[in-house]
Structure formats: C-alpha cells, structure tokens
C-alpha cells in the first residue's frame, strides 16, 4: 500500500473538510455582510436626505429621543422592545468583555497578594511549573491549529475545484450534450447570418422607395420578375439555407 494511502484518515479529512468549509463560508459571509451593511447604510442616508428635503416641519436634530410611530399597536411595541433588548444585551456583553469590572479588580488584588507573600513561595513554584506545562500545551495546540487551518482551507479549495472540473467533464463527455452545444452554436451562427440578410433585403426595398420618392418616380410595390432562365438558375444553385424553409 502506498505511503499516502497509509496516512489517509477519513475522520481527519472529514474534520478538515467541515472546518475548512465553515471557515471559508464565514469569511465569504462576512465579506458579503459588510457590503450589504454599507449598501443599506447608504440607502438609509439617501432616504433620510430625501425625507428632510420634503419635510414641512423643523428637524428634531441629532440626540433627540426617538419618537415612536403614531400608529404602533401594543403587539408591535412589544416586538420592537424585545428586538431592542436583544441588541442592547449584545452591546453590553461586548462592552463588558473589554472593560474590567469590580470582580476583575477584586481578583487582580487577590492574585497580587498571593504573588508577593513570601510564605507562599513553595506554592508559587508549583503553580509556575503547572503554568509552564499548560503554556507549552496551549502553544502546541496553537501551532497545530494554525497548521490544520491552512490544510483545511487547501483541502476545501481542492475539493471544490475538482468537483467543478469533474462536473464539467461529465457534462462534456456525454455525446448528447456535446451535440446540443454544437447545434446551438451552429444554429446561432446561421440565425445571425439570416438576420443580417433579412435586414439587408428590407433595406434594399426601403432605400429604393426613398430614392424613388425624392426623385418623384412612381413607387413600385413589386420587383419585376427576372427572366425564367435566371430564376431557374438561381433555384438550381440555391445556397444552403440557415432554416430549411422552401419557397
């Protein structure tokens, strides 16, 4: 068995596929959401400007408390309140993670006391050993994670590319599909030629009528019939038609 096959672990590949897919999906989604937010913000600004341009009353100005719409029902107000609470909570949690609170300060004081007390030196040495081992383990996880993230991305890239190629290959391999594409291409070319010819024939007639009108000549509804020999010859050597319509 080749070395590569021995190293193959389905579970690991599946994990990479799932993780890489999530990563790439998240990045793609973030990218799109950023664009949508910018677009929505721009539209809100334009809408606001249009509203202000048509307003009859004075502006309320920035910083005024938001006015509830007049026609809200109690159910709508409750819904708005819940949605507002959701976003407020999100903002407060995000803020709390950044700024230290009273608990954080108390814990910091306690740790400082433990750190500076000479009687606790043996305990500190044990703690330092444990912390070193923990740090080493976490650093190993970080390295592994960095490497696996890169592998997962490459794995998903390759999987997508190969899937796409094999789909195209499968479509093209089918003779019916190839035939259909070929006929479509040839049909389009023939249609184009016929379109150009038809327009030219129309323009022939139109130009002639225009010139006859300005030269004050009698307009003619039909062309004179060509000699029979000429017609027969033309029919005999008729060029291949785009459409198989007979006269």
């Amino acid at each position: 068995m080749p070395q590569q096959d021995k190293d193959f672990q389905p579970l690991r590949s599946l994990t990479r596929l799932a993780f890489g897919g999530l990563l790439m999906a998240q990045e793609e989604l973030n990218h799109h959401m950023r664009r949508w937010e910018q677009e929505a913000s721009r539209q809100r600004t334009e809408q606001r400007q249009r509203t202000l341009a048509h307003a009859d009353t004075d502006d309320e100005g920035e910083g005024a408390p938001p006015m509830l719409p007049v026609a809200d029902t109690p159910a709508e107000q409750a819904r708005y309140a819940l949605v507002g609470l959701l976003f407020e909570t999100q903002d407060r949690v995000t803020q709390a993670r950044r700024t230290p609170g009273p608990l954080d300060r108390a814990a910091a004081s306690l740790l400082h006391a433990v750190d500076t007390n000479p009687a606790l030196e043996p305990l500190r040495r044990q703690m330092d050993t444990l912390v070193s081992r923990g740090e080493a383990e976490v650093n190993r996880w970080i390295e592994r994670g960095r490497s696996e993230e890169m592998h997962s991305r490459q794995f998903v890239d390759t999987a997508l590319q190969r899937s796409f190629e094999s789909s195209i290959h499968g479509v093209v391999q089918h003779a019916e599909v190839r035939e259909m594409i070929h006929e479509q291409g040839a049909g389009l070319a023939d249609e184009l030629v016929e379109e150009v010819r038809e327009h030219a024939v129309s323009t022939d007639d139109y130009l002639e009528r225009l010139v006859r009108k300005y030269l004050k000549r009698t307009p003619r509804e039909e062309l004179p019939e060509p000699p029979e020999a000429v017609r027969r010859r033309a029919m005999h050597i008729r060029l291949p038609e785009a459409s198989q319509q007979d006269i």
């Binding site: 030629v193 379109e195 150009v196 010819r197 038809e198 327009h199 030219a200 024939v201 129309s202 323009t203 022939d204 007639d205 139109y206 130009l207 002639e208 009528r209 225009l210 010139v211 006859r212 009108k213 030269l215 000549r217 062309l223 004179p224 019939e225 060509p226 000699p227 029979e228 020999a229 000429v230 017609r231 027969r232 010859r233 033309a234 029919m235 050597i237 008729r238 060029l239 038609e241 319509q245 007979d246 006269i247």
Partner: protein, 185 residues
C-alpha cells in the same frame, strides 16, 4: 400601412444595401489577406537580402526593383490581387466571399454563368466607368428597374438573391409607415 406576407425573393434582383454590404465584407477580406501577404514578403526580403547573396544581379537593371520594391510596385501588386480575387471567384463560383455571405449570385442576363472574360471586362472596364461618374454608376442600382449598376449593364449581368430571400417585415412596415407620412411644409 400593412404589408402582406411576402413570398420568397429567390432569383430576384438584389438591391443596393445587400450589394454594398457584400462589397464591404470583400474589402475587409482583401485588406486582411493582402496585408498578411505583404508582411510575409517583407519579412522574407529582409531576411534574404538578395543583393548581398547574389551580387552579380546588381548588373541587371531591375534588381533594385526586386530588392527594394517601391510603393508603386506594392500598388500594382495590390491591384493585381484585387483583380485576381474578383475574377477568380466570380468566374469559378459565381460570387465573391462577400456576396456568398449575403446570399447573392452574379449571373448573365440569360441565366448563364459568368465567364472569365466577362468577369474581367466587368471589373476592369465596368468598375472604372461606374467609379469615374462620381460613383453614380454604383448608385444606379437604386433607380434601375432591374437593379443593375452601370458595370452590370456593360457586362450584361444581374446580381440576384440566391436564397429564399425575404425582408424583415416588422422593420419594413415601421419604416415605410414613417416614409409614407406627409412631410411638413
């Protein structure tokens, strides 16, 4: 204004627009082909340098012309190519590539094929006559009952539709309606 369903115009005389488009297509082909030939010959000349390879040719009076063709030579070559292109295609296929694209065919007035002599006369005598009359010879197609240009009349040829020709009726009805409206005075 309404337009009754038209029958096929196969074998009928081709008009100015179709012929002009065919001429344009031929002009593009001629330019491209002759340009490529000229470029190839120039490249070969610069590589070969006949004067240095065969110095005894310098004693011949026309070597200078071969080694360093003047613009006059190129003009003559392009004219010869133009004549060959038209005569060859018209005499042996009844149409140039441009006319083939537009579905046209050149026939004699009795329905026969155009001979090499007739094709040459049509081109070398008919075209200059049409051209020298300020181009009116070409525009004669617009007023002639049989849609012949002057060079067609001189050579005894018709240019006819060689496909089941039919106009784009929507376009025609629209434009003819506009044409039929009385103009303001």
């Amino acid at each position: 204004m309404t337009l009754e369903k038209t029958h096929s115009l196969l074998g009928h005389y081709a008009g100015f627009a179709s012929r002009f488009l065919a001429l344009l297509i031929d002009a593009v082909i001629l330019t491209a082909v002759f340009g490529a030939l000229a470029w190839t010959i120039s490249g070969i000349q610069s590589l070969v340098e006949l004067a240095t390879l065969l110095p005894w040719l310098e004693r011949l009076p026309f070597l200078d012309v071969i080694a360093n063709p003047t613009p006059l030579i190129w003009s003559a070559a392009s004219t010869a190519f133009f004549v060959f292109y038209h005569v060859f295609f018209i005499a042996f296929t009844g149409r140039t590539p441009g006319k083939a694209f537009m579905g046209l065919r050149i026939l004699t007035t009795d329905g026969g094929r155009v001979s090499v002599l007739r094709a040459t006369l049509r081109l070398l005598i008919g075209y200059p006559v049409s051209f020298l009359l300020l181009g009116l010879g070409f525009l004669w197609v617009l007023v002639d009952d049989y849609r012949q240009a002057l060079h067609d009349k001189l050579a005894g040829t018709y240019v006819v539709y060689a496909w089941a020709a039919r106009p784009d009726e929507e376009f025609l009805v629209r434009e003819l309606t506009r044409l039929a409206k009385p103009t303001r005075k």
